[in-house]
Symmetry: C2
Subunit: 300 residues, 2 copies
């Protein structure tokens, strides 16, 4: 009775129950297990290879890196493509394109009203001012919307994910003013790579790939009556702009940089040195039923 | 250029390279990613569901539990089935059946010669004596082979995987004597369940499954000129004998228990109370080229 063929074993794995489970988890798990059984059989995976994979998977989780491996294998961009397709089906693919959240968001950044300085003053780098408005699909400004912004330092490090403690450095929530305007001062972020020697880097290396992202700035824009927009803007000129390891770059999100070097403009901006200006308006699509996602299968 | 369909994205993920990678890792990863892309699309997996999965995967790895999830989803037993098929193809499916190693082996247990006591004397339980020989496929005893044995306590706990420190409790390597004989005294193990509340238990619960294993004793038997045999013996009568969450029970490995209660036999065994005797001979198959596995793709 307990001697199985591979096929009988797969059936046992996918049908064993002592009570009704979550139907969706059961169905998706059965599909993934079935696919992996077939892969192991067709590739004649050796026990030693499987055990190496288990060790690698434990190391990925121990580093909290599944959120880094996933975009590297295209999954986060795939989810954006599917979200876009859902929005298209309901005739609601408007506004600023979405882009992947990535694993480095930290909630509850300090609130600012209208404008903020993002860097804590300890880093050196190129001064950046970014400003614009949050608009609805008809171009009407949305006051009191929240621009939640986070980005890497000029050296490519994210606060809260770096040994140096710098609470909420390069992270703010900015509430737009009565004209829907936001504005922040910061230092130009640089691109970065997955941590060298990490399990993610080991996989990418075996795949013959690099783990570099081009310079970008993350945003999560929220306003009542609109689905929250998670997106990024990309800094032009970065050598990895079209070679992002996370496949996240989208052409409409590549901004234009404006060098501001004349004294009156510098003074008008309240600064004392030349800076780079980025102007960018975020356009939110209206909420529709089609964009109210079903409840997640399991909150963790 | 950076606007992809799901299909174009998949192609980009599976073909992006800056140098040649490991061909086998590339091929297997491409297959797994392709299957997962199709699963996400066909099940219309929501971003929130995917993010829950990422959180769960990180929790599994953080607990070091991939080696526990894998047997629960049948993978370890599948690998044994495939090993058996390889051995059958080379006409070398002889000897004691293999059974999964599980994630609770600890190398370098103390060595003993001929016989050993496995428990450290701090637990109470039913006395067990197990003895037998290590034989080759023709029935010839193999002296100086190593019987590496490990099992759970009467309460179902494994040393080194339990808060109570008890180095190598219920773990020994016993070198067989000139007659190929081994013998050990221990306490009868009980079955056990995956840790309650652990990520593995959460998955099993969503699948409507239990996470229980029937009582068993693990062995790794090694001798020069033979492939190492990883196996288990099962204790008859356990309610989960044919309902192992790891699908590992094999009929030829269910042993017979012999109650020894007469005084002369007890004294002859050097004990002062009734005990259970298990007699079991391990039969090793000869090494063949077909059983020399290829080098693992990645040592971790």
């Amino acid at each position: 009775m307990a001697e199985y063929s591979a096929r009988e074993l797969l059936h046992a794995v996918n049908s064993t129950r002592i009570r009704e489970g979550n139907p969706r988890v059961c169905a998706i798990t059965a599909r993934i297990v079935s696919d992996l059984f077939r892969t192991i059989e067709e590739f004649d995976v050796q026990t030693s290879e499987f055990m190496s994979a288990i060790k690698w998977l434990n190391a990925v989780g121990d580093s909290g890196h599944f959120g880094l491996v996933a975009p590297g294998l295209g999954f986060d961009r795939l989810l954006d493509i599917l979200e876009d397709e859902r929005a298209r089906r309901t005739g609601n693919l408007h506004g600023t394109p979405r882009a992947i959240e990535g694993p480095l968001y930290v909630p509850d950044a300090p609130m600012a009203f209208g404008e903020a300085r993002l860097d804590d003053g300890t880093d050196e780098g190129d001064m950046l001012i970014m400003e614009g408005r949050v608009l609805d699909a008809r171009g009407t400004p949305i006051p009191a919307s929240i621009v939640d912004v986070w980005h890497a330092s000029p050296e490519g490090f994210y606060s809260h994910f770096h040994p140096k403690p710098a609470p909420y450095n390069y992270r703010r929530r900015i509430q737009t003013d009565e004209g829907g305007r936001y504005r922040f001062r910061s230092l130009m972020p640089s691109g970065y790579a997955v941590p060298p020697g990490s399990p993610t880097a080991v996989l990418l290396d075996l795949l013959g790939r690099h783990g570099r992202r081009p310079a970008h700035i993350h945003f999560m824009i929220s306003a009542p009556g609109h689905p929250t927009l998670t997106t990024q803007i990309n800094i032009p000129g970065d050598p990895y702009l079209d070679d992002d390891f996370a496949f996240a770059t989208r052409d409409p999100l590549i901004v234009t940089l404006e060098s501001v070097e004349d004294h009156p403009s510098i003074v008008a901006a309240g600064l004392d040195q030349p800076f780079t200006r980025i102007g960018f308006d975020f356009v939110l699509s209206p909420a529709t039923e089609g964009e109210l996602a079903p409840a997640p299968i399991e909150k963790w």
